[in-house]
């Protein structure tokens, strides 16, 4: 085998073949731990919130000027995820604008609204309210997990109902000759464009560093890595909650569980050793806010076909339905957060609980480990018996 073929094979394995979900789970946990050490735990909804705030500020509905999106850490990591997925799609020669039938846009719109409202109530999305919350040992993360599972079940029932009762719509693809001109070979250009954008992200990091904002630049860069990994593996939190009811498949449950176990173990070391403030990232309203927010969010993510993170990477590969979701998520999240704050309802949704404060460290750590191992075992048992599969 000559070198050129060998390089081509490596390229194919790295940037065109789908990565295993468990590997992606491990990588995401490691990047999330780096973000935690870098400044504070990883989240997503706060970035959407910032974008929504800006809209209302610009139409004069809010008085207070929000933080500039390029100075807001989570807005930056969200942008990084989107760009990382865009680069990954380009490298795989997969990027194109993907239209969807009308009904799908409606589901994307409503799904985004439900997720925006749910994330406001739970003070976090599937990442900040569940993934990071659990790893930060916040009791609310577990409450949201239960809500997400229940919401996913309801959302799936809706999708089944829709399939039986609403007419099926599709988008007919056009023959290639009509969409692509002869002089411009889009598939061939994509990897070069992808590499250029990737270099651009690194350059932006250096610019941040040059103006003494290295920490902010890091958020963009870490987000970029997460977007790359998520798109390469099509890593999807929704599937971890939906598939056990839908096909019985346990693949994504295992991947998310592996990821959480590494993430929470690492974070326990960091917190127990006081490398970061132990209660950092623990702000979730236990139990009402997390439970109800998770439930509403769970329905929304089934309708949209993407959670907070997979909405970003799916937008990055050109899915127009999820672009609608991104907009309504941001607008609703900002508005609902504002409403909860102004009305004082915020106070009634619950209180943040740091598990080691209640259970002590020596009990919290093995308990969480046992909890996630049981989740995997139940999912594997369900894969075999299909006991929870609804259709």
């Amino acid at each position: 085998m000559n070198m050129k073929t060998e390089i081509r094979n490596y390229y194919n394995a790295l940037f065109e073949q789908e990565w295993p979900a468990w590997l992606a789970g491990m990588l995401i946990a490691i990047i999330a731990l780096m973000i935690f050490l870098w400044q504070s735990p990883w989240g997503i909804a706060a970035g959407y919130n910032n974008w929504g705030d800006w809209f209302y500020y610009l139409v004069n509905a809010y008085d207070e000027r929000p933080l500039n999106p390029w100075l807001h850490p989570v807005s930056l990591s969200n942008s990084g995820i989107l760009i990382g997925a865009f680069v990954s799609a380009l490298l795989a020669r997969q990027f194109k604008f993907r239209p969807a039938p009308k009904l799908e846009y409606a589901k994307g719109l409503i799904g985004g609204m439900l997720m925006g409202a749910g994330a406001a109530m739970a003070k976090g999305c599937n990442v900040g309210g569940f993934f990071s919350a659990v790893a930060m040992l916040s009791a609310g993360g577990f409450a949201m997990m239960i809500g997400l599972g229940a919401g996913a079940w309801v959302g799936l029932r809706y999708l089944l109902w829709e399939m039986e009762h609403l007419p099926s719509q599709t988008v007919y693809s056009k023959p290639k000759e009509e969409t692509e001109s002869r002089t411009f070979n889009w598939p061939k250009v994509q990897p070069y464009l992808g590499a250029t954008v990737a270099i651009g992200v690194v350059a932006v990091f250096y610019i941040f560093s040059f103006v003494d904002k290295t920490q902010l630049g890091g958020w963009l860069f870490f987000g970029f890595l997460i977007g790359l990994v998520m798109h390469r593996s099509r890593f999807c939190f929704v599937r971890a909650f939906r598939d056990p009811f839908m096909t019985g498949e346990a693949k994504m449950v295992k991947a998310v569980a592996v990821s959480i176990i590494i993430y929470f173990a690492g974070s326990s070391v960091i917190k127990w050793a006081y490398l970061q403030e132990p209660t950092m990232g623990v702000y979730h309203p236990f139990i009402l806010g997390c439970l109800m927010g998770g439930f509403i969010f769970g329905i929304g993510m089934l309708l949209a076909g993407g959670c907070a993170s997979s909405t970003l990477w799916r937008v990055g590969e050109g899915q127009t339905k999820l672009m609608v979701t991104l907009v309504t998520f941001a607008l609703t999240n900002s508005l609902t957060s504002k409403f909860l704050l102004v009305s004082g309802l915020d106070e009634k949704l619950g209180q943040d609980i740091f598990l080691p404060d209640v259970l002590t460290w020596p009990i919290t750590v093995p308990l969480i480990l046992a909890f996630f191992l049981s989740w995997v075992l139940v999912a594997m048992w369900n894969e075999e018996t299909e006991k929870f599969v609804v259709f």
Partner: protein
């Protein structure tokens, strides 16, 4: 077997739909088919390229293969077990 020449017994069109609709529709269509019949699925979602083959080999069914066509979508074939 030449995929292009397969005579399918039913077709599910999921073009333009994203995860999880292609898989849901595939599962529903397979339920209504008899053993030995072949289901053809048309799709454009990049995620389907892994999901449909994985799912197609479950529960005694057999995934026969997939082929990208010039119109820009992919044709998948599953034989009901």
């Amino acid at each position: 077997m030449e995929l292009e020449n397969i005579q399918s017994d039913g077709v599910v069109d999921t073009r333009g739909l994203g995860c999880p609709m292609p898989l849901l529709k595939t599962k529903k269509a397979l339920k209504g088919m008899a053993s030995g019949e072949i289901l053809e699925i048309l799709g454009t979602d990049p995620g389907s390229k892994k999901d449909i083959p994985d799912f197609g080999n479950k529960g005694g069914n057999q995934f026969l293969g997939m082929v990208d066509v010039p119109e820009g979508h992919t044709r998948y074939f599953i034989k009901k077990g």
